[in-house]
């Protein structure tokens, strides 16, 4: 929801009710709308997880180990999506996992977006050696395979969900910095910025009040798509045993412990991955829709 509110101010320079134009374009894109509704559903599931989930995500039903889902032979409605190797209800773990995944996405995007915007603004405004220093650092980070860098950072900080989130935030930061810098440089040459400068606006005012709101459109799109990257990367770290630690019901971590049951219990492997895929797909659909609705070149 926050994304839409900011859009309103970002598009404020356009003539007739830009917000309505935006909503109109966005609503025409069925994929984007579907993504939006899936995300709303996920948020509701995350908020009400304690009431929706049939069981606690960490209680072990030792008599019902590796029970298949309800439609398969031997399954029951008591555990609709079956149980894992120590008898925990998979559906309940998935529902509570939604909380973690959305939290990961929010935290990573907020942190990397804030840091990236700051670095991008500094580089774009001051150019010269600040620009060179910042952008070379970003180049260095981009030259390393992202997952490798994330693994090294987690190794330094120690495995765990918070550290994995920090690692992913650092790894994706260069994209926001580069995007902000490029947008800032193209805005700085425009008349309204010159006018603001001439009428005596200070650097901070120019940065955050004059220029930044006009650079928001690409950043909003990148941030939405960044949710999916964050969720995927954190899940990958969880899968490598470096993210959230058991018994935390993080989807990637669930997959890591399910690996050895690939031959015996397909449901333990299938559902957590499906949850990741649906969530990531929803954010990508919405990101694509936002891009089309915010990019004037594509408005036909």
């Amino acid at each position: 929801m926050a994304a839409i509110d900011t859009t309103q101010s970002a598009d404020a320079s356009a003539p007739e009710s830009p917000f309505r134009v935006f909503v109109h374009h966005f609503a025409q894109n069925r994929g984007a709308l579907a993504g939006f509704f899936v995300i709303v559903a996920l948020v509701l599931i995350a908020i009400f997880a304690d009431w929706i989930a049939p069981h606690s995500p960490i209680v072990q039903f030792r008599d019902n180990v590796l029970q298949p889902p309800f439609w398969a032979e031997g399954g029951s409605m008591r555990f609709p999506l079956g149980t894992d190797d120590i008898g925990r209800d998979i559906l309940s773990r998935l529902i509570h996992g939604a909380r973690l995944s959305l939290a990961i996405g929010t935290f990573v995007v907020t942190l990397s977006l804030a840091a990236g915007i700051l670095l991008g603004l500094l580089a774009g405004f001051f150019r010269g050696w600040v620009d060179i220093a910042v952008m070379r650092l970003m180049d260095i980070m981009l030259a390393l395979p992202s997952l490798l860098l994330a693994v090294v950072i987690v190794a330094i900080l120690g495995p765990g969900l918070a550290n994995a989130m920090a690692a992913v935030a650092i790894v994706v930061l260069p994209h926001y910095a580069r995007l902000t810098r490029a947008a800032v440089i193209s805005e700085l040459t425009k008349d309204y910025v010159v006018a603001s400068r001439v009428s005596g606006a200070g650097v901070l005012r120019l940065m955050f009040v004059t220029v930044l709101p006009n650079c928001m459109a690409p950043l909003i799109v990148q941030a939405t798509l960044g949710f999916s990257t964050a969720i995927l990367d954190a899940a990958a770290l969880g899968f490598l045993g470096l993210g959230a630690q058991p018994p935390t019901p993080e989807w990637g971590t669930m997959l890591a412990s399910a690996r050895e049951f690939v031959q015996r219990a397909w449901w333990v492997v299938t559902f957590p991955g499906l949850a990741i895929l649906i969530t990531v797909l929803a954010f990508n659909l919405m990101g694509d829709g936002l891009r089309d609705a915010l990019d004037p070149k594509l408005k036909r």
Binding site: A143, L148, V152, I156, L240, I276, L277
Partner: protein, 336 residues
């Protein structure tokens, strides 16, 4: 043009030094040094620990170690693995063909399927075909590839028994490593069936690693084609009465390919990151798995050397892509 090449290439030098610096210090921030990790729970006398550290030069000040390392790197020496005592470069060169073989196959898979899919989607814009191609490719783009690997193993290895689960070749065969590329080596050897075994081992990792590049190539080809198909010269070509295939294949595709080639080049970094997961899942003896294992062993020389080699490769490919792009598009090389 020369000016463009030189100035673009000069940018690589600080990045290279930065990567050297970063990889050296980052891995030393990881708690525990190679000796502590190897000793593990067993414990060791403080004298012996000091002696082993001294042998590896780990007792010297960090900046002395760093400048020694820089000197070694500049003279082409990447050091010796703490664990295996083999030169890092030699280990890298032994494992790298496995990663290259997998990455090249994944890229071929992506291009061979993605390019035509993107072209068809663009030509049939707005139809069911277009929606299907775009839907499938967005799903592929959103795929957690480690889960995708498990699903494919579940279907093709466990249920159907068509493909093996791990490694590059069945243990029944032994093939002399001539090129390091298993597909070529098995063809060169006289072992009947070895080549088929190598192919069966390669299929699943290729599909897993190629899925995201496939989605990217298909999407990029489509949008690039759509842009080109709207140009005046395409209308002219159609007005001249050229056949649809000629217009799309010859006039449009050639111009649409420029951004697609750039994207393919930029996928190299993505491929190497993906190779870490893919190699770990399929026990593929490549560079990605080697680096992950080295982190657990705190094998400093392997890590700093391996990371440097990989980063250099990514930088080299990006540089080549940039230069090619500049050569193809004058606006870039004369730009700011």
């Amino acid at each position: 043009m020369l000016r463009f090449i030189l100035s673009r290439s000069a940018l690589v030098i600080p990045t290279f030094l930065g990567v050297t610096f970063l990889s050296f210090f980052l891995i030393r921030l990881v708690p525990g040094d190679p000796i502590e990790v190897r000793v593990g729970e067993r414990g060791i006398s403080p004298e012996r620990l000091a002696q082993l550290r001294h042998e590896l030069g780990l007792d010297r000040p960090l900046w002395v170690q760093f400048f020694d390392y820089i000197g070694d790197v500049l003279s082409g020496n990447l050091g010796v693995s703490v664990v295996t005592k083999t030169p890092v470069l030699q280990e890298f060169l032994a494992l790298f063909p496995a990663t290259i073989e997998l990455s090249v196959c994944a890229m071929l898979f992506a291009v061979v399927l993605g390019l035509p899919a993107g072209v068809i989607a663009a030509v049939r814009r707005g139809t069911t075909v277009d929606h299907t191609v775009m839907g499938v490719s967005l799903t592929g783009y959103s795929m957690p590839i480690f889960w995708w690997a498990l699903l494919l193993i579940l279907l093709f290895s466990v249920n159907l028994g068509w493909t093996p689960v791990s490694g590059r070749l069945s243990v029944m065969y032994w093939v002399e490593p001539v090129t390091g590329f298993m597909l070529i080596d098995t063809l060169l050897s006289d072992e009947p069936g070895a080549f088929a075994s190598a192919v069966r081992h390669l299929v699943l990792p290729t599909v897993v690693l190629g899925t995201i590049p496939l989605a990217v190539v298909a999407r990029m080809t489509r949008s690039s084609m759509l842009e080109v198909l709207g140009e005046d010269y395409i209308r002219t070509a159609r007005a001249k009465g050229l056949s649809g295939i000629r217009v799309v294949g010859l006039h449009a595709l050639r111009n649409a390919l420029i951004p697609v080639v750039t994207v393919i080049g930029l996928q190299v970094g993505v491929l190497l990151a993906g190779a870490i997961l893919t190699e770990t899942i399929f026990s593929w003896p490549g560079v990605g798995k080697w680096l992950i294992e080295s982190i657990n062993r705190r094998d400093y020389p392997v890590l700093q050397g391996g990371i440097l080699l990989i980063a250099t490769l990514v930088m080299a490919v990006n540089l080549i892509v940039d230069l090619l792009y500049g050569a193809l598009n004058p606006r870039i090389r004369h730009g700011r």
